[in-house]
């Protein structure tokens, strides 16, 4: 069963210091190693901030572009993982281990089975 874990973080929140930023990166590195080692990681990446997003809509054959993400919320998608695990309980357990779950929020969505 595959799940998409979307990591949403407060746009205004930045690591308090260089050291705090490095600590966060180290935690992500450790998490990545754990789920790579267990074979649960399919893919995952960190995203550029939401200010770099472009939203695309095609209406009546015309392409419309908007600067910014499709939903304006205080919390914005900052990164994602796709994992392959037996059930939702394991997915939720891993989501709780994502470092930004402590200050942001992780949305876990099942991926429709092919």
């Amino acid at each position: 069963m595959k799940y998409l874990m979307m990591i949403a973080v407060d746009r205004s929140s930045r690591p308090a210091s260089l050291a705090a930023g490095e600590k966060l990166m180290a935690e992500y590195l450790a998490f990545n190693q754990r789920i790579t080692g267990s074979g649960e990681l399919v893919t995952g990446d960190r995203l550029e901030d939401a200010g770099t997003a472009t939203s695309v809509r095609v209406r009546d054959g015309k392409t419309m572009l908007t600067d910014g993400p499709f939903a304006e919320t205080t919390e914005q998608l900052g990164g994602f993982y796709i994992i392959d695990v037996p059930d939702l309980d394991r997915a939720l357990e891993l989501a709780a281990q994502i470092p930004n779950a402590r200050d942001g929020v992780v949305e876990v969505r099942p991926i429709v089975a092919g």
């Binding site: 069963m1 499709f70 939903a71 037996p86 059930d87 939702l88 309980d89 939720l92 357990e93 876990v108 099942p110 429709v112 089975a113």
Partner: protein, 451 residues
């Protein structure tokens, strides 16, 4: 679950959950034709007893709640056709399982699209051997309890699923109990079952590592059903006994499935000790009667004895494991009330101490309110009022009728009639049920007269 639906790419092609299957699932009394007298009642009793067990087992083997409900429904229809003439079989459960299995095969063969899960189910169902392993049936029921009460489901969905799949209530009954339309309730159930399937909410008893997190959720769902029945949040009836009885039935089932869990026994004890007062809690006009004014002879002594025995057992076990949980503490308070010969002869200092302990570990506004009332009874109204004033900052409490009703009562006892009248008026504005409004109006009238 629906509130925050975002724009979905058109490619999903999945129709929204609008089509509510008719007559889903465990047939409660509905399947039996009315007016056939004794046999209908007998069949109804058999189905009520066996359907929950059959369903739990079918869900595990078929891996799909809807398919299991449909197959069981088919089997019950078949039973209604053949049992009246041929008699009820020796093991109705085995008969229902065998028949449901055959019906599931029929259904799966009719369907064009089959997921891998259904293929596996088909392989099981087509297997000619009777492999209904009866010994594991209780495990399956417990699995189903934890699936229904999974924290990834919304609270109202957990309650609805538990009543439907464990309690075997019909959609109509659940909708009526929670004062929503049948369509709303049916859709709530469809959405919840869809999430269980699509998100792969597991069908298992949680591991020891997460059980301490998950068990309180199950207990909370059962207690929510009880409190909804005991103190209906809206409507004309103050108590909906059917919901209380259902919650107690679920509590008994859980106590049977998880022997030796002190909080499970504590919850059952708490519900019994409260339910025992039910007959005295409302007068012939349907009005609320305060604990102090209830006819204690009308309390159900059998239920009190059972509740006290369960509580003793739970507390003995807790003492070995550590501190007693919140349900045991609340049951201990209820037991002190139930065992007191009169309101005056109640062990108020002990109740005050138990509420203080409860508030120390689970500081909720309602517990704080009760703690203040207990203080007033143990030490006098002025001490209680001082404790209530400390809680006044809490928004949820300040807009709750019980907070103002409690203040009004203490103010009356202190002789501050003007303030008491104002407090009763505020409580009256905030009360939701007509019975509570009538009660408060009566109190207000009494105080105003003394003014």
């Amino acid at each position: 679950m629906t509130g925050r639906r975002r724009r979905v790419p058109a490619a999903t092609g999945v129709p929204a959950a609008t089509g509510v299957p008719a007559g889903t699932g465990v047939p409660a009394a509905t399947g039996v034709p009315a007016g056939t007298g004794g046999l209908a009642d007998e069949l109804d009793a058999v189905f009520r007893r066996e359907a929950g067990q059959a369903l739990a087992k079918l869900i595990r083997f078929l891996g799909d709640i809807d398919l299991a409900e449909d197959a069981l429904q088919d089997a019950i229809v078949a039973a209604l056709e053949s049992w009246p003439a041929g008699g009820i079989p020796d093991s109705p459960l085995a008969w229902l399982l065998t028949t449901a299995k055959r019906k599931a095969v029929d259904r799966l063969r009719r369907e064009t699209q089959r997921s891998d899960k259904q293929q596996a189910a088909l392989a099981w169902a087509a297997d000619g051997q009777q492999e209904a392993d009866m010994s594991a049936i209780e495990d399956d029921r417990l699995r189903l309890v934890f699936t229904c009460c999974h924290p990834a489901l919304a609270a109202d969905a957990q309650v609805a699923l538990t009543l439907r799949l464990i309690g075997g209530l019909s959609v109509t009954e659940i909708a009526r109990a929670f004062l929503v339309t049948e369509t709303t309730m049916a859709q709530r159930l469809v959405r919840a079952k869809r999430k269980i399937r699509s998100a792969a909410i597991p069908y298992q008893v949680p591991s020891d590592a997460i059980l301490p997190d998950r068990l309180p959720q199950v207990l909370a769902v059962i207690y929510l059903i009880f409190t909804e029945g005991y103190s209906a949040s809206a409507g004309d009836d103050l108590i909906r006994s059917d919901l209380c009885a259902e919650a107690i039935r679920l509590g008994r089932l859980l106590a049977e499935l998880m022997p030796g869990e002190p909080e499970v026994d504590g919850l059952l004890a708490l519900m019994l000790l409260h339910h025992a007062r039910g007959p005295a809690r409302v007068d012939s006009a349907g009005d609320l009667v305060l604990l102090a004014e209830q006819h204690r002879s009308r309390w159900n002594r059998g239920q009190i004895a059972e509740g006290v025995a369960l509580l003793d057992k739970a507390l003995r076990r807790s003492r070995r494991l550590g501190e007693p949980g919140p349900y045991q503490l609340q049951a201990a308070i209820a037991a002190l009330h139930d065992q007191a010969p009169t309101a005056r002869d109640t062990d108020w200092p002990q109740i005050k101490a138990l509420y203080a302990e409860l508030y120390r570990r689970w500081p909720s506004p309602v517990v704080g309110l009760n703690a203040a009332v207990a203080t007033a009874m143990a030490d006098g109204p002025a001490e209680g009022l001082a404790q209530l004033d400390v809680l006044a900052d809490n928004d949820r409490l300040r807009t709750h009728h019980l907070y103002h009703a409690a203040r009004a009562d203490l103010l009356t006892r202190m002789g501050r009639t003007c303030d008491a009248v104002a407090a009763y008026r505020r409580a009256l504005e905030l009360a939701n049920t007509t019975a509570e409004q009538r009660f408060l109006a009566k109190q207000l009238c009494g105080v105003s007269r003394d003014q």
